[in-house]
Amino acid sequence: MSLTPEIGGAHVRAVHDEFHGDLLEVSMGPHHPSTHGVFRMIVTLDGETIVKLKPVFGYLHRNHEKLGENTTYLASMPYTDRLDYLNSMSNNWAYALAVEKLAGLAVPERAEYVRVILAELTRLLNHTCLAGFLMQDCGCSGTPLMYAFREREKILDLFESLSGSRMMCNYQRFGGCRVDPPAEWLAGAQRLVDGYSAFLDEFEALLTGNEILMARTQGVGRLDPALAVSAGVAGPMLRATGVGHDLRKVDGYGVYPRFEFRVPVGAHGDTYDRYMIRILEMRESIRILQQALAGLPGGPVMDPKAKLRGFRPKAGEAYGRIEGPKGEIGFYLISDGGPNPYRYRVRPPSFINLTILEDMCLGHTVADAVIILGSVDIVLGEVDR
C-alpha cells in the first residue's frame, strides 16, 4: 500500500495483454509546457501507462556544427555559448580546452583557477535551475522555480559584471580568459558562495523532505548502471545510478586535482536520486569554490603566445572534454591547417543522456514521463545543436 508501487514493464504488459484496451497515441511537444523547449515525444498510452515512447529531435537543429566549420576558431566561441544556454561558461571552457589540446597551448595558473571558479558557479546555476524546473514539472506553482531564479540572478550578475553578458558570456579564450577578474568581483563571488549554503538549506526545507515529492520521484525512472554506462550516460545522471565517474576526478583537467571534494553517488538511479545528487553536488561545488577563491594565485590570465586573430593550428585532430553540469561535454576538432576547423563536432551530453529515455519511462505514467524528462536535465540548444 505504498505510494510508489513496483510498476515493472513486464507486469504492465502482461496486464495489458489480458485486457486488450485501445492504445492512445499522444504527441507531447514540440509545444508542451514541460518538454523544456521544443522537444517532442510520441507516447503510446494504455490508459495512462506508457507502453512506447519515441523521442523526436531536430526542432532546434540550428546547424551549430556546420556553422563551426564555416567560421574561424575564435568565431565559434560565442556560438558555444548558445549550445547549452544555461551554462555558457562551461561550454566555453570545453571548447577552449579542445582547441588548446589541438594547438598545444598552455594556460596560466591564474586562468585555470578562474576557469574553475566560473565552471563551478555555472554548475551551481545549472543545478539550481534544474531543481526549480523539476519541481515545476512536479506541479509546483512556480515557487521553487522563483527561488531558484532568485539565486540565478545573483550568479548572472557576477557573470555580467565580469564578461558583459548575462547568459552569453563568450569569456574563455584559447590560452586563458578574456578578462582578469578584479578584486571587487572576487569579493562579490565570495559573498555569494558564503550565502549559498543557506539558500540550499531553505530550498531543501521547502521540498526535499516533502512526502508528495518523494512519492512522485522515488522509484520513478530507474536506470540500471550497466545500461547507463553502455548508453554513454554521463554526469549527475550516471552518478545517480551508483557509478562514481566524474571527469574532474578521472581526467583531473585544469587544477581540479588541487581541490578537495567528494563525488556523491546514488544507489537507486531513480528521479529522486538524480535530484538529490545535484543538490549534493552543489554543496561540493561550494567547497571547491571556497578553496579556489582562497587559493587564487596572481599573474596573467592569458598565455602571451596565444593569438587572437589569424589563429591557425597545425593539421591534426583533438578531442577535449570536461565535466559539464549536464555531463561530459566534449569537442572534437579536426584541423587541416586553415583558419577554420575542418570538422567541428560537439559531444552533447544532454542528447546522449536521452538515449535511454524510453527505457526509463516504460511502465510509468504520463505524469512520470514528464518528471523523468525533467530529471534528465536537457537543454534543447545542446540536444539538437
Binding site: 500500500m1 514541460s34 512536479c138 512526502e211 553517488v265
Partner: protein
Amino acid sequence: MSAALPLSAASGANALLERLPVVLRDGLLGYLPESLRWIVSGLITIAALLAVFGLLFAYLTLAERKLLGRIQNRPGPNRTGWFGLLQPFADAVKALTKEDIVPREADAVLHYLAPVVLVALSLMGFAVLPFGRLLVPVELDSAVLYFFAAGAATELAVFMAGWASRNKYSLLAAMRALAQLISYELPLLLSFVPVIMLAGTLSTTEIVTAQGGWTLGFLPHWHVLTPWGFAGFVIFMIAALAESNRSPFDLPEAESELIAGHLTEYSGFKYALFFMAEYFGMCALSGMAVTLFLGGWQAPCAFLEFIPSYAWFGAKLLALLFGFIWIRATLPRLRMDQLTRLAWKFLVPLALINLGTAAFWFLTAGWSGPLQLVRWAVAVALVVVPFLLLGRRLTAGVAPRTYRYAT
C-alpha cells in the same frame, strides 16, 4: 429567506447591522404588490449572491496572483488601476471580447454546455449556505444532501468538457476528473457524517446553531475543536481540495502534463467561466466547511459578538481561501494512482474510524471531572493512532535517503 430567528443577546447596534441586508430587501419589496414579492425576493437574493461572489471571484483571482507573488518575492499585478485593483476587470473585458473558437471536430453542443452547466452547478451550492444569522437563501431540511449532490455533479461537467473537445489531452483529463470524483466523494461525505450524527439534522442552519455557545466565554463549541471534528475537518479540506481541482490535486488540468487538461480547447469567455466555476466551487466548499466545522457565522468569543454574523462567516471563509492559495503556492502535484490511493486507503479508513470516534464522543457526553480527561485522551488516541499507522503504511518505501561518496 427564512424568517428572522430571535436575536439572543444582541445589542441595538448589532441588531441594526445584523438586520441591514434583510431590512434593505424588505424595504424594496414593500413597493411591490403582494403577489410578486416571493419571486422578486428570490431574484434579489440571487442577484445579491451573484454580485457578492462575482466580486469575490474577481478579487480572489487578484488576491491569488498577488499572494503567489508575495510568496515568490515579487509584487504581483500592481499596474492596472490603483494597486492593480482593476486587473480582474481588464481580464474580464479581454475574455469577453476574445474570439470564441470551437474546434471543427468538437461536439459543439456539449462543448458549449459544459462551462454553462459547470457554473450553474457550482452556484447551486450557495443556496443553502447560512451566510449569517438571518441570511440563508433557502432553508432546506436536507440542505447538506442537496449541497453535495449539486457539488458532485460539477465533475460531470468537467467530463463533458473533456469529452466534447475531442482532444487527447482533454480526454485524459476527463478520465482523471471522473476517477477523482469517484475517489474523493466518499471521504468528503464520510468526513462530515459525524457532524450530522451529533447535530441530528441535515439542515445547515441547525448545524450552525448546534455549534453556538462558549465555554468560559472564549472557547467556542465549534466542531473543529473536538478530536473527531478536527480530524473530520482536515479530511474534509483535503477532499475539498480534490473536489475543487486545486493544487496538489489539480490533475485534470495538470499544466505540466496535460497542457491545460479539459480546458485545452476552450478560449475566451468560456474559459473564464471554467475559471469562475473553479473559484465558486472553492468558495462553496469552504463555506460548507465553515458551516460544518468552524461554527458557521458564530463569533469565536462571546465579547466579539457585536460584529455582525455575516462578517464572521466572511472572515472564516477568507481564511480558508487563503489556505487554498498558500497550499497551491507550496506543494507539488500528486500522481493519479497516488491520488486515488490516498483517498481509498488513507482518507476513507480514517474517516470511518473517525465515525467511531465521534460515536464514542457522543456516548460519553455526560462524562465530567477527571473522566473528561479520559474522554479527551481516548478520543485523541482514536484519531492519532490510526493516522500514524495508516500514514506509515501509506508512505512505506518513501523516505529521505542518505548518500555515499565515491572515491
